[in-house]
């Protein structure tokens, strides 16, 4: 156990089915994922990250993946206007 991986599902989600995979294994899935624009978040996925691996987020038949190194990480996935996921480090700072 080397830390917790958090994935913010951010803007652009509207009643979506979202699945998160770690090294090809599904670790999280939820339907009806919808952004709450009062916080710019649809959900926060928390995954115990065992070691380095590849994180993949699938939504609307599209996927985005990223290599994760051991340790605590907080990533963010937003959907662009075409519905394609964009993944990056979650921004710092409070949310309200």
């Amino acid at each position: 156990m080397t830390g917790q991986l958090e994935v913010e599902l951010g803007t652009g989600f509207a009643d979506d089915d979202v699945a998160v995979y770690l090294d090809g294994t599904e670790v999280w899935r939820r339907g009806g994922v919808t952004t709450n624009y009062s916080v710019g978040l649809a959900d926060v996925v928390r995954i115990p990250a065992a070691a380095a691996g590849t994180l993949e987020v699938r939504v609307r038949d599209k996927a985005r993946s990223r290599r994760i190194e051991p340790g605590a990480h907080r990533l963010r996935v937003d959907l662009d206007p075409s519905g394609a996921p964009r993944m990056g480090d979650a921004p710092e700072g409070p949310v309200f």
């Binding site: 009062s38 409070p94 949310v95 309200f96």
Partner: protein
């Protein structure tokens, strides 16, 4: 809905303006006005003259100025011009026909040079919101005795009377506030209506605020903005004070209480909504200028979450919460953040989006990341042009206020775009057609209209049925329950679709009938169910997955307009190939019409009927199959007469065997909680009973009616339903 319009000449209540109208109500105790210190109120010394605007003064400061002037020796010999009342504020016309709430914004704190108003239609025992208008830019002419404000209005309804001319007498602060008169005309000068409006408040809007606190949390009270470097004048601000500066009066309901939780309690959006329903003394599932703020400790989304406007189900934006987990210590920085978060979350309840999320609104606006506003994130502040951004730059320049566009929305936005429980969060002007279905602001009719959708969460293509129930609390005459079906036009249904439009449902078949009235009362209810999936104007209504909002209105015999609760139904996207095929089969015009008619032999609906048969036979496990069987069964149980082109009349006789076989499947699948709604089940059995009676089989007819009656009794149906099965 209402066909008269309020700006036309015939609608005005008082074409011969009397400036004293409402003066009594408008007059207020001066001391009270001064000590309540409404920041946008009529005591602003800026007045309407051409002096540059002064910084905001409190009422006490105004009084001190006046007193200091009068105490000067030369004051006895030189006339001192007394400060004039500001014209800005809220005015209201008498409640006759159309009532106008007028907002004048031309002086006082941060004048936006706008006019706006809401019309309310007074009918019978109900007062119902009619529509809103806004003048975005005005011309102001000031004489020593009169202020005249002229501009062209945008309206939520269609009118040619769009030119507004408002006149307000100028008086000193020691005189009662005068009324405002608005005269409408067309751009070519044709006179329209005139309304004389008494002064009501210096605030453009008044909102009831109820604040509850989670045990262990010290709720924010106030912050001195001079405690840390900032961009505005130093003053002590509470949350209500921040809104007062925006021209919104926040009135504490006095009903706040402490919510006891465990010390490690973590809130979710669902538990927050439950808490709101349980603890917000003013909560109702209707639009109203009332809002709930919970001061809480922590939320499941993490320690970084400072606040949330969680109320995004049903009628939205009625509640929000702030979280103190990371900012509970009473340092200046924490108090500043508490003020910011509380004001910010309530801003969401006024339907304000983040400065950097404006593009996600409906309709969208450009983002304003450089906005020094309550609605930005300090860390996201990006003024551009090479100027420094980020939290430090933001706080150093932030004057503790909304930006001008947000201020215009809060003060002058169309009512449903602003009011809590109005349009969904983020939706601006797209729902104007629904204005006629707004909650009455006053309802003493003794009637209540309730609606519910079945099935709960239909898959795309499944027929949507609306249960409409009229509850009669006070004894009076109302329409017989059958006439509550929208096809009789006494009840209208409006559906807001996820694509952004609003359909005021026009049933493809209308019944013109003489009102059939019954005497009812004592809480008795009259329920009816109606298929609302197909519309004479737009065809298939529920043809996209997504959430649909539905409201209905009923015009009572005395003219009262009774507006139902708002309900939502989420149409799920087909997840299987079978579901997709059912949707394809049923979302056609012919299938919609065949369902509306409960089946037909018409050759013009042959494709639709074939679709129903295919769904009934090949997709029996799909929820839509029961509705297909219902339509096919009822059609089989009745004769069908066709007039051929040569004038010959051909009759297809009842097929009671097929009819009963199909309807039995519907009834048996629906005796419990599954299947079609109860009222439809009784209707199917009653229809079959009548068919057997028509064939002379009285025993079978009686048995079917008895089955229906027993089923209805077991489900505790109201007397009106049981009587219909006798």
């Amino acid at each position: 809905m209402t066909v008269m319009e309020p700006n036309a000449a015939y609608a005005g209540q008082d074409l011969s303006f009397d400036q004293q109208v409402g003066a009594d109500e408008a007059g207020r105790d001066l001391y009270h006005q001064i000590t309540t210190a409404d920041p946008s109120g009529p005591l602003s010394p800026a007045g309407l003259d051409e002096r540059p605007p002064e910084p905001h003064l409190t009422a006490d400061e105004v009084l001190q100025r006046i007193e200091s002037r009068t105490l000067e020796p030369e004051a006895a010999s030189i006339p001192i011009p007394l400060p004039t009342r500001a014209a800005s504020g809220r005015y209201r016309s008498p409640a006759l026909g159309f009532q106008l709430e007028l907002r004048v914004d031309v002086d006082g704190r941060r004048p936006l040079r706008k006019l706006s108003g809401d019309y309310f239609s007074v009918s019978g025992a109900t007062t119902t919101y009619f529509g809103s208008w806004t003048v975005d830019a005005v011309t102001i002419t000031t004489t020593p005795t009169l202020v005249t404000i002229i501009g062209t209005a945008r309206t939520t309804w269609t009118t040619t009377y769009t030119v507004a001319r408002v006149t307000i007498p100028r008086v000193t602060v020691f005189q009662p506030a005068p009324p405002a008169t608005i005269r409408w005309s067309t751009p070519t000068g044709t006179p329209g209506a005139t309304y004389a409006c008494s002064w009501e408040s210096g605030a453009f809007r008044t909102v009831e605020l109820e604040q509850d606190t989670e045990a262990g949390v010290t709720a924010f009270a106030s912050y001195n903005t001079g405690s840390l470097p900032s961009g505005g004048p130093a003053r002590t601000l509470s949350t209500a004070g921040a809104y007062a500066e925006a021209g919104v009066q926040m009135v504490d309901t006095g009903a706040g209480n402490v919510i006891t939780t465990s010390s490690s309690h973590i809130w979710t959006n669902a538990s927050l909504h439950n808490a709101m329903v349980a603890h917000f003394s003013r909560y109702q599932e209707r639009s109203q200028f009332k809002v709930w703020l919970l001061h809480a400790m922590r939320h499941e989304l993490g320690v970084g979450l400072r606040g949330i406007m969680f109320d995004q189900q049903g009628l939205q934006r009625q509640g929000c919460a702030s979280f103190y987990q990371a900012i509970s210590a009473g340092t200046a920085a924490n108090l500043r953040e508490q003020l910011y978060v509380n004001t910010h979350e309530l801003g969401h309840c006024f339907n304000l989006f983040h400065s950097f999320h404006k593009t996600f609104m409906t309709p969208p606006l450009p983002n304003r990341p450089g906005s020094l506003s309550w609605m930005n994130y300090p860390q996201n502040y990006a003024p551009g042009g090479g100027a420094p951004g980020g939290a430090a730059a933001f706080w150093g320049a932030f004057p503790f206020q909304f930006d001008d566009l947000e201020l215009a929305h809060v003060r002058h936005g169309f009512r449903n775009n602003v009011i809590m429980g109005g349009n969904p969060f983020g939706t601006g002007a797209a729902l104007e057609a629904e204005d006629g279905f707004a909650d009455p602001v006053l309802d003493t009719s003794g009637l209540e209209l309730r609606i519910a959708v079945t099935p709960d969460r239909p898959v795309l293509g499944t027929p949507v049925v609306l249960e409409i129930k009229l509850v009669v609390e006070r004894t009076q005459q109302v329409h017989r329950r059958e006439q509550l079906h929208p096809k009789y036009r006494f009840v209208q249904v409006a559906i807001s679709r996820p694509r952004g439009d609003v359909v005021v449902h026009q049933p493809p078949v209308s019944h013109c009938a003489v009102p059939d009235l019954v005497l009812d009362g004592h809480g008795e209810s009259q329920p009816i169910s109606a298929y609302i999936g197909y519309d004479a104007t737009v065809g298939q209504i529920f043809e996209d997955p997504g959430t649909y909002r539905i409201r209905a209105s009923y015009v009572a015999p005395d003219g009262s307009l009774i507006v139902s609760n708002a309900t939502s139904v989420r149409i799920a996207a087909p997840r299987t190939e079978q579901s997709e095929q059912v949707a394809d089969l049923l979302l056609t015009d012919q299938a919609g019409m065949a369902l509306t008619l409960l089946g037909s032999d018409s050759r013009y609906l042959a494709e639709g009927t074939r679709a129903l048969e295919t769904v009934a036979s090949d997709y029996g496990d799909h929820p839509a199959a029961l509705y297909a069987k219902l339509a096919l069964g009822i059609n089989a149980a009745r004769p069908y007469t066709e007039v051929l082109e040569n004038g010959e009349v051909r009759t297809r006789e009842r097929d009671l065997g097929r009819g009963e076989n199909l309807l039995r499947q519907v009834v048996d699948a629906s005796r419990g909680d599954e299947g079609v709604d109860n009222l439809t089940v009784y209707q199917a059995l009653a229809y079959l009973s009548d068919a057997y009676r028509g064939e002379g089989d009285e025993n079978r007819a009686q048995a079917l009616k008895e089955d229906a009656r027993q089923l209805a009794e077991s489900k505790n149906e109201p007397v009106s339903v049981l009587r219909s099965l006798e």
